[in-house]
């Protein structure tokens, strides 16, 4: 595989920093943030659709946790969650049991799936000193009662967060947080757009690192990082490779190992679209920073959030959205990268597959676990898939 040898050293440093952040199970960055601002707190959230704006507005640091990869041996969690449960649930609990979650004062879960939900309450029993809460994200977007219900739910959470931080949140605080995150998400959308148009300029694993860093950094800092990176990336002089263009679907929650993402690319794919932690954008467009901010946030989840297997909108099926995404990114194929035992992703594979076949879009299904470390088999499968598309 031809790797570009003259990589901008500044870019390289940014990627290294991101990788360090993501691999650091001690959450040194979070600890330092707290040390630098005594009295302020950090609240973790389970991968997607968390109302980070609420945490931010309450003056705390929102941190997205996406498992522990292969960096933690399971000692306790296996006995609690047993077979047939995805890894992220177990590694998250394991982090708690091994004191890795110490820097966090709270933890938010939401109604994405049954395993994650039960995890919330198991955590509650095992870590009574932590504020742990569960957000009921609604599954009936068609009722006019839904946005007000979610707004009430957000207000309930906000009251708890205010108690935790000791900071009363005003509407202006919220609007300010919404604007900051809007800007951040807009940059990420820009990054994804760049990948779709000039895939040689930014590899998927690089973009992944940049985006995932946003889970762990204060939004202001991350926005700056993205701004700089976007500027640098555009000036890269890299040649187009002879690769097929694929959209990756199915890794919205548990994350594939970084090496696996690289391997997919090296086997001959440009990943022009993906759902790694839903690209951290969560909304298709900006959340209006006017009016009643809580209601706007709620309305945005109900009416403007990006599709995924853990969000149900019967007005526009996910499978239609996937086909549209393939067309919009001019992808040749879809690669289902599904976390082992992720039931929502398993279920959706069927209608996705049916619709892709109807639209004549080839696809390949792969399974991974975050602790995976040998990739020979996956590699053979991806290579075969690429070969079946390029050789005639």
């Amino acid at each position: 595989m031809i790797m570009n040898t003259v990589l901008d050293s500044k870019m390289e440093r940014t990627f290294d920093k991101c990788r360090e952040l993501l691999e650091d199970l001690q959450f040194t960055a979070v600890r330092e943030w707290k040390r630098a601002q005594p009295g302020r707190k950090a609240v973790a959230y389970f991968p997607v659709y968390a109302p980070v704006e609420l945490i931010h507005a309450a003056g705390m640091l929102p941190v997205g946790l996406s498992g522990a990869g292969d960096r933690l041996d399971l000692q306790y969690a296996d006995a609690r969650f047993g077979s047939f449960i995805c890894s992220i649930v177990k590694t998250t609990l394991e982090m708690g049991m091994t004191e890795h979650l110490q820097p966090f004062d709270g933890f938010l879960f939401s109604s994405i799936c049954d395993s994650a939900r039960n995890l919330c309450f198991v955590m509650k029993r095992n870590f009574p000193q932590m504020y742990i809460d569960f957000i009921h994200l609604p599954h009936n977007p068609s009722s006019p009662a839904t946005p007000p219900f979610l707004a009430a739910e957000y207000r309930r959470i906000l009251t708890c967060l205010e108690q935790l931080s000791g900071h009363k949140v005003s509407d202006d605080d919220l609007r300010n947080s919404i604007s900051l995150y809007n800007r951040n998400r807009a940059l990420i959308r820009e990054l994804y757009a760049l990948r779709a148009t000039e895939p040689q300029l930014v590899r998927a694993w690089e973009s992944y690192l940049l985006v995932r860093a946003g889970n762990l950094l204060p939004v202001e800092e991350h926005t700056k990082m993205l701004e700089d990176a976007l500027q640098e990336l555009r000036t890269r002089a890299l040649k187009k490779r002879d690769s097929i263009r694929v959209v990756v679907e199915g890794s919205f929650c548990e994350q594939p190992p970084l090496v696996l993402i690289r391997m997919v690319e090296e086997a001959g794919c440009y990943i022009v679209g993906d759902d790694f932690t839903l690209g951290q954008t969560w909304f298709e467009t900006d959340v209006p920073a006017t009016g009643d901010p809580i209601l706007e946030l709620a309305d945005s989840y109900v009416n403007r959030s990006v599709y995924s297997s853990v969000r149900h909108d019967f007005r526009k099926p996910r499978w239609t959205a996937l086909v549209e995404k393939v067309k919009a990114t001019r992808a040749d194929a879809v690669l289902f990268l599904i976390a082992k035992f992720c039931e929502p992703a398993y279920f959706d594979y069927v209608p996705y597959k049916q619709e892709l076949e109807r639209a004549g879009i080839p696809h390949l299904q792969l399974e991974f676990e975050e602790k995976l470390f040998t990739f020979d088999r996956v590699r053979t499968e991806v290579e075969t898939f690429v070969e079946s598309l390029v050789f005639d």
Binding site: G82, D133, H136, F149, E343, F347, V350, P351
Partner: protein, 422 residues
């Protein structure tokens, strides 16, 4: 096994008759389009609302369950897996979808395409997928009642309002689809019937507090659960539960238990392995172990702790029932508490946790539950794994080994305690 493990009274016959009658109505609906049918989940079902339209509930779970008990679930499961469903998807869904693909019904009768697919989402995210996929397959209209999960100790005012609002939208939807006017009085009467059925059901469950228990609150309770979901809102249902109570009360008063000598009293957590229902039951019968309470018998409603539907607040009480009063929509810690109360108030010796691979709602985290009961409360607890629908996950020898080892230990510690006190 010569052990008589099952009580057979007149309630078993009337239960059969009731369920047969239900299947006949479904069959009629399939051929003539009348009565209207609404498919719905057992957990958090709102049959009372259907009464307002003279509509009949269609429970896909009951079909899946029947298939498994009749050892017919593997074929439809495989058919669904051929379509692309994973080995690790809930087999209830696979069996149901497989049936649809192959046109199978467990009773041989016909099943109608429902007038409305009403996804009463309570707790189980898989329901959403299930109904969404069924709607895609059949083209039937779909409406989701989003029921907020019990994330706080009490249901919130907003939760109830939200559900009531959606119930009313369901009424509108059904009025359009059935071209019938919603009969509010009939709805209220249905709610009142439910209240009475529930009261009787609750009394039945409390009979199991006697030693010996007159029935098995896991294996026998399942027989009584069909009428509870299909008929509780009808006078026939009330009548059925009156007979059942009288019969079991008489048995209790005569001091008759499930076994000649009831050696162990258990609380069961998790659904049973339907494909091996009999075999599984015998594994406990061998030890004369009787279930005095079970969480599975509360998937459709949790009435033994006092909740009743309320004809004075019909919509609100239906909403409350959906939110708060079924085990699937209650959080894990509430389930721990429920089991703890069973152990104490129903005077049990141990807890059996049956991990079913299909159902994350029930099973994800049951290891923590075991930890809580053994470590925190010091209650003997057995953890076994299989499945409620997929026969491939039942390892008979291993399960038997575990159960035997559990009772061997229980017997041993009982004996030691006895010797100590002598």
């Amino acid at each position: 096994m010569s052990e008589k493990t099952e009580y057979r009274g007149s309630i078993h016959q009337s239960q059969k008759d009731l369920m047969l009658n239900w299947y006949e109505q479904l069959d009629r609906a399939a051929t003539t389009g009348d009565p209207p049918t609404v498919s719905m989940m057992i957990s958090g079902n709102c049959v009372e609302l259907l009464e307002g339209f003279g509509a009949v509930p269609l429970y896909p779970e009951v079909n899946a369950l029947q298939l498994a008990i009749r050892h017919q679930s593997l074929d439809p499961i495989l058919a669904a897996e051929d379509l692309g469903y994973a080995a690790d998807n809930c087999a209830y869904v696979k069996a149901d979808i497989g049936c649809m693909l192959k046109g199978i019904t467990p009773t041989g009768g016909k099943l109608p395409t429902p007038t409305l697919i009403l996804c009463n989402f309570v707790g189980c995210n898989t329901y959403l997928k299930w109904f969404e996929h069924t709607a895609k397959l059949t083209g039937a209209p779909l409406y989701v009642i989003d029921v907020p999960f019990m994330r706080t100790d009490e249901p919130r005012k907003e939760d109830v309002e939200y559900v009531v609002r959606q119930l009313k939208e369901t009424v509108e939807k059904l009025e359009q689809l059935t071209r019938r006017k919603f009969d509010y009085d009939r709805f209220r009467q249905a709610v009142d019937c439910s209240r009475r059925s529930e009261d009787l059901w609750s009394q039945i469950k409390h009979l199991a507090r006697s030693t010996p228990s007159p029935f098995d609150a896991y294996f026998d309770a399942i027989t009584l659960m069909g009428p509870l979901y299909v008929y509780r809102a009808k006078p026939e249902g009330v009548e059925f539960f009156e007979t059942a109570l009288a019969e079991l009360q008489a048995k209790r008063d005569a001091g008759h238990g499930v076994y000649e000598r009831e050696h162990y009293r258990l609380v069961m957590e998790g659904p049973p392995p339907y494909p091996y229902f009999r075999t599984f039951r015998d594994m406990f019968a061998k030890w004369q172990a009787c279930a005095v309470a079970s969480t599975y018998s509360t998937v459709g409603g949790l009435w033994e702790f006092g909740f009743r539907h309320d004809p004075d607040h019909p919509f609100e009480s239906v909403a409350l029932h959906m939110i708060e009063q079924n085990v699937t929509n209650r959080n894990y810690l509430q389930r721990y508490e429920q089991i703890r109360r069973y152990v104490e108030e129903w005077n049990a010796d141990g807890v059996i946790i049956h991990f079913v691979k299909s159902c994350r709602l029930f099973s994800a985290g049951q290891g923590d539950m075991r930890d809580y009961f053994t470590k925190q409360l010091g209650i003997p607890t057995l953890y076994i794994e299989s499945d409620l629908e997929d026969p491939r996950y039942f390892a008979e020898a291993q399960t038997k080994n575990r159960i035997d080892a559990f009772f061997e230990a229980l017997e041993h510690s009982k004996a030691t305690a006895l010797r100590g006190s002598a």
